[in-house]
């Protein structure tokens, strides 16, 4: 099939490459594309069409049309006509049942005619409604494109690279290369991108090829898909040299295998030295397309007839085939036998990128094409994309035939001339509406080879001109792009505390909390909780957000931010605080202590630290107070030591007086513990005597080891998040985000004691005043179950058959011997001993309100 070696061919005939197609080896030369190698090996049918499963062959050979899409190494919808051959590639056809030459689904084309007009399934398959999923599944299987392997996972690595250059040239044809060279000679930094591998190495400028400009976005951003890298390019000057797209003609049989655009013939014969047929007919509207006759003759193909539309515009053109392959062409009733029909309407400038950048697209009636005008600043067009196409005939919107064959407007989605006429008759008369109804221009070619044809057809049918019809809006992506390249590298960053490796060594089950990896437990969470009640437990709480608020206005700043009072917080004391928005909603909570004058140490929830930091910084910017905020979350580790024997353990490791008189509940003290400088916070989230030890991160592991080693005989054991959640629930301590949501306020969350209405102002004051004066719709209260059932989080609270609330937390407490939880209830239910029911697995289980902490309700153990 190959012609003898010729000058200018892109092949390196000294070597051979082999890839597999449907499991059989196909040989190729370096320089071949998968498409050219298959064609050289005798393949003519490259795909089956979207709806009718008609055989389709090479049409454009330049990556524009959908006809050669195959699955290459598992990637569907690869246009093999432009995909370079690599050794060992596995190529499979797609959208066929059987083989490309004998596709069992082609029965749709023969019997399906009454069932397959545009919009058929919208109208027909909507009733009965319940059947649609089955219809849909069936349709997805018989119609469509390639399939992705849903279980394949991430293949390869995708990266993003940001680039800034003086000049970006899109398109490496004659004009593009010239523009790039000129700019480079002027000393500009130039980047040129082209869809194909270049024949020559660039001189003085950088080249990305193969690469595709996806669009021109706001601010002149041009993302370029270069396979596994997405370049985000910003240029002072963007030169668009995307050239033209040859347009197919509309005539019956225009999709037969053997009908090609001139450029396809040019590439097959010149680049790959392949003879595309034996006997050819040419129908063309411009000089450049007609020149293809010379290529054909050079390749030894007989040119039976040339129809120059500039001189003679026939009324009727029809391609007649058998088994989907072209056999003859009938031009105005004169039949010509041939196996190749080179047919093209006018060359349409590929204006899409320019239109995205803001250019106006105007119809040029004398040449029958749309041309870009009024380019925005910083964007230029050179070469044929500007509309410099020479003398061009305007072809008919469609040519008549005897009526035997379908005439396709859109080969991507199998939309025929008849379908478009029907859509117009149904009233879809605007091009944007008709596009959505018929799906013309919405297929893989994205209008490259069907938009102009569709516009011409609308104009003729509506007896108006093309400029009145206009074009559809050009939007990115201009070229198909894989989702992988848009997604970029698979980042799943994890934050780990400085004690992380100790948890792993202790056999912890790790879990995600926001970005953090934290121990869920060390095997038996309930036993861990019991150990905290009976002996002493240690938990890594390094994930807490930690902020230093410093400066002369620090106290006033916190006073304004929190509903609590801080002006009177003495040095060395701690206060629990809840942050509120101006809408009165709880945004975070934590403890605030005053280690020294004009110094506050603020802790936040583990997942809220970044939000709180931004919140603090923003209010500081608004108020302009004399305050510095320092984020020390990562710099400090923290370990909570809790349980009745916590003091005994701490006393072994520090020389500071940790007696109940010297270090009271809610006292803070700076001291060395096990030789590590620590800030000791005596607080009690888990309900037992407890000390939070905050120290520099590098010492975290050491401190942890010392606590466990010196507390071994006291029963010191680590406990995880699950145990902590149970322990805090026994105390009815809330977790922001778990027990509260974006609607919750501090009064409704049962914490009226933190809200100091007597303060002049604080963020959220008016909203909370409004809540105080008008009452809450619901309250957060504790409850216990009458039996051992543990209701799910989010479980429905039912009273008198009506849903009236929801469960936010629930656990079985081995210490209490019952199931306890927190729930949002309407005010009339939020009374001690009120009874209600919770839906669990469809059953209703009885529960009872408990307003006070389940464990140590008076906090005696905390203060002991």
């Amino acid at each position: 099939m190959r012609l003898p070696p010729q000058a200018g061919e892109r092949l390196d005939r000294s070597r051979q490459l082999t890839f597999s197609f449907r499991g059989r080896p196909v040989s190729a030369f370096p320089g071949d594309t998968i498409g050219s190698a298959l064609f050289a090996a005798g393949r003519r049918v490259f795909s089956r069409s979207f709806k009718y499963h008609r055989p389709r062959g090479l049409l454009c050979c330049s990556g524009a049309c959908p006809n050669c899409m195959m699955t290459v190494d598992g990637t569907p919808n690869v246009r093999v006509c432009v995909e370079p051959v690599r050794d060992g590639t596995i190529v499979q056809p797609q959208n066929v049942l059987g083989s490309l030459d004998h596709d069992l689904l082609s029965v749709v084309d023969r019997v399906g005619r009454p069932f397959t007009p545009v919009g058929f399934y919208y109208r027909t398959m909507i009733r009965p409604r319940g059947l649609w999923p089955y219809y849909e599944k069936f349709l997805r299987n018989v119609a469509g494109l390639g399939r992705i392997d849903k279980h394949a996972g991430r293949q390869g690595r995708y990266d993003t690279e940001h680039r800034t250059v003086d000049v970006l040239v899109i398109g490496g044809g004659h004009s593009g290369l010239q523009a790039a060279r000129q700019a480079a000679e002027r000393g500009d930094e130039v980047l040129l991108v082209d869809e194909h591998a270049p024949p020559e190495q660039p001189d003085g400028f950088e080249l990305i090829a193969p690469g595709r400009a996806i669009g021109i976005y706001e601010g002149g951003l041009v993302p370029i898909d270069a396979g596994h890298v997405l370049f985000r390019v910003r240029a002072k000057r963007i030169v668009v040299a995307t050239g033209v797209v040859e347009q197919p003609l509309l005539f019956p049989g225009n999709d037969l295998v053997g009908v090609m655009l001139p450029n396809a013939v040019r590439r097959l014969t010149r680049d790959w030295s392949i003879k595309p047929g034996d006997r050819a007919v040419i129908v063309a509207a411009d000089e450049r397309a007609l020149e293809v006759a010379e290529d054909l003759e050079h390749a030894g193909i007989e040119v039976a007839e040339v129809v120059d539309l500039r001189g003679r515009n026939p009324q009727a053109i029809e391609a007649i085939g058998s088994r989907g392959r072209l056999r003859q062409v009938v031009v105005d009733r004169v039949a010509i036998h041939c196996d190749l029909l080179v047919a093209s309407g006018s060359p349409q400038p590929a204006y899409s990128l320019l239109a995205q950048a803001g250019a106006t697209i105007a119809y040029d009636a004398s040449r029958g094409i749309f041309v870009p005008t009024d380019l925005p600043p910083g964007v230029e067009a050179v070469g044929r994309v500007t509309g410099e196409t020479g003398a061009v005939a305007v072809p008919r919107a469609s040519y008549d035939g005897a009526g035997g064959e379908k005439c396709f407007v859109c080969i991507c989605e199998d939309v025929s001339e008849k379908d478009v006429k029907r859509a117009l008759a149904e009233g879809f008369d605007s091009i944007e509406l008709a596009k959505r109804y018929t799906t013309v221009t919405m297929g893989p070619c994205q209008g490259r080879i069907c938009q102009l044809a569709a516009v011409r057809l609308y104009a003729r049918e509506q007896e108006t001109d093309e400029s009145a019809i206009g074009t559809t809006t050009a939007r990115p992506p201009w070229s198909p792009v894989t989702l992988g390249v848009l997604a970029g590298r698979g980042h799943e960053p994890a934050k780990r505390t400085s004690i992380h490796h100790r948890h792993k060594e202790l056999g912890a089950t790790m879990m995600w909390t926001g970005d953090w990896r934290r121990p869920y437990g060390y095997g038996d969470p309930q036993a861990e909780a019991t150990n905290v009640h009976e002996a002493v437990g240690v938990i890594d709480v390094s994930t807490l957000g930690k902020l230093l608020v410093l400066g002369p206005d620090a106290a006033a700043f916190l006073e304004r931010l929190y509903p609590n009072r801080f002006a009177d917080l003495k040095t060395g004391r701690i206060r629990y605080g809840v942050l509120s928005t101006d809408a009165g909603r709880i945004m975070d909570d934590g403890t605030i202590c005053a280690p020294g004058d004009e110094q506050f140490y603020v802790t936040t929830t583990s997942t809220g630290s970044e939000g709180v930091l931004e919140w603090f910084e923003w209010w500081n910017a608004v108020w302009g107070m004399d305050v510095e905020i320092v984020n020390v979350t990562g710099a400090l580790a923290a370990v909570n030591v809790a349980g009745p024997r916590a003091r005994e353990l701490l006393a072994r490791l520090t020389s500071t007086d940790v007696s109940n008189e010297a270090l009271k509940y809610l006292d803070a003290r700076q001291a060395h513990v096990a030789g590590v400088p620590c800030l000791i916070l005596r607080i009690g989230f888990v309900g037992e005597l407890g000390y939070e030890l905050h120290c520099p991160s590098p010492h975290g592991e050491d401190l942890w080891d010392m606590l466990l080693a010196h507390g071994a005989d006291l029963g010191a054991r680590p406990f995880g998040l699950e145990a902590q959640r149970l322990l805090r629930l026994e105390k009815q301590h809330i977790i922001v985000g778990q027990d509260t949501d974006s609607e919750s306020n501090a009064l409704a969350a049962n914490m009226p004691w933190i809200v100091k209405f007597e303060k002049d102002d604080f963020v959220g004051k008016w909203a909370l005043e409004h809540v105080r004066d008008n009452g809450n719709r619901e309250h957060l209260v504790g409850f216990e179950m009458a039996n051992a059932t543990v209701p799910p989080e989010g479980g429905q609270v039912v009273r008198g058959g009506r849903a009236t609330g929801r469960v936010t937390s629930a656990r079985w407490s081995p210490t209490l011997g019952k199931t306890i939880g927190l729930a949002w209830l309407p005010p009339e239910l939020a009374e001690e001993d009120a009874e209600f029911e919770i839906r669990v697995d469809g059953r209703l289980e009885p529960a009872r309100v408990r307003l006070r902490p389940f464990f140590d309700p008076d906090g005696e153990r905390l203060r002991s």
Binding site: H162, G219, D582, E614, E617, W618, A621, D760, D761
Partner: protein
Amino acid sequence: MSFLLTCPNCGPRDVNEFAYAGEVTTRPVGGASLRELTDYVYFRRNVAGVQREWWHHRFGCERWFLAERDTRTNEVLRVELPGPAETGAAHEPEVPETPAV
């Protein structure tokens, strides 16, 4: 959005580095009516034109700053760090009149 935004601290950067925090609002002072308070909390002017707004250089210097941006074109006319003069005394950011469009 893909325009460049100039951080007063770091210079022009891709807008994806920043967090947008909405138009500059005036927090009512004591004695405001419920209506005024509700407007402050829930209502925005949603200007089609030049708007004064807050930005945070989240993936950069983490500074908060003010920008004047045309919401129709994303053209940024001015950026500045908030100054004590603007947010001082009554702590009220000054909101320039926005041209009607």
